[in-house]
Amino acid sequence: MTIPLTKPLRNWDPVVKLTHWSIVAAVLANGAFTEGGSWPHIWVGYALTGMLALRLLWGLVGPREARFSAFPPSLSRALAHIREIKAGKVHDQSSHNPLGALMVYAIWGTLGMIIASGIAMAGLPPKAVSHDRHAVQQVAPDHGEEREGEENPLGEAHEAAVNLLYVLIVLHLGGVIFETHRSGRGLVLAMLPGRR
C-alpha cells in the first residue's frame, strides 16, 4: 500500500553538477585536443577559470552541502575517516567525505596553479588574442615540437601542475570507484545530470 521512498543519500545541486562537468570538459579539451598556447587553448582556460570561480562563489552562498563549511580541509578528520574505512563502517555523508574533501581542495589548488601559470605565460587577452593569430604565437612561442627544448620556467610550472592534475584525477576516479564499491551507494549517480 505504501510506496517506499527511495531517496538518494547525496543530492548534488545543479550548480555543483554544471561546474563539475564543465571543468571536466575543459580539462579534456585542453589536455587532448587544443594546442598549447593556441587561442582556443587560452579561451578554454578562461572558461575553466569562470566555472571554477562560480564553484568557489557557490562554496560561500550555495546550499549547505555545497559550502566550504560542509567539507573543511582537515587532516585529522581524514585520518579518522581512514580508520572508519578500516573498521568497515559506512557513515552517511551529505557532502564530500573527509578524504574526498582533501581531494577537492587539492584539485582546486592545482587548477589555480595551472590557471595562474597559464595566464602568466599567455598574458592578458589584448596582447594574447588581438584578433590575429600572429600575436598569439609571438606571446606563446613554446608550443609545437620544440617545447621540450625551451627552458621556460612558467611553461614548466604549467606542465608540472597539469601532470599533478592528471595524477589527482586518477586518484579521484579511484576514490569514486572504491567508495561506490564500499558503501554500495550510487556515488557516481549523484553527480550525473538529471539525477535527484
Binding site: 500500500m1 570561480a53 592578458l124 589584448p126
Partner: protein, 173 residues
Amino acid sequence: MQRAARSLEHKALILTLVLGCQALAATFFAIDVAGDIAEAGLGWHLSIELGATLALVGGVVLGAFHVRSLIERGRQDQALIAAARGAMGALIRARFAEWRLTTAEADVAIFAIKGLDVAEIAALRGSAQGTVRAQLTRIYAKAGTASHTGLIALFMDELIDPASTLAEQGEHG
C-alpha cells in the same frame, strides 16, 4: 506527482545554466578589462567598462543567491510532501481498519480517494465495472458516506484546518 517541486527544480536548472553563462561572460570581461587596463591605464572608457564588469559580477552573485533559494524551496516542498504523505498514509490505514474494509475494498478505496473513476479502477484492477461499482457501494456504506466526493471529503475534512490554512496564506500574500 509532486509537480510543484518538479517545476521549482526545473526553474533552478534553467537559472543555473543562465548563471553559468553569466559567470563565463563575467570572467571573459574581467580578464579583458584587466588586460586593457594593464596596457592602457585606467581611462574614461575603461572605467565604464570596469563598472559594467563589476555590475555583471554582482549579477552573478545575486543570481547565485536566487538559485540557492529556488533549490531550498524545492527541497522544502519535497520534505513537506513527504511528511504529508506519511501522515495521510497513517490516516488512511487507521480509517480503513476502523471501517473493516477487506483487502480488495481497501485497494479500490485507495484508487477512489486518488480521484480515479469506476472505469479507471476497473481497468487498473482488471475486473468488471459492475464489481467495482458494487465494491464502492459497500465502501461508501462502511464509511457512512453517499458518494465518491463524500469519501474524499472525509479525509480532506480531517486534514485541512481552514483557519490556519487561510491565515498562513494571508501571511504569504
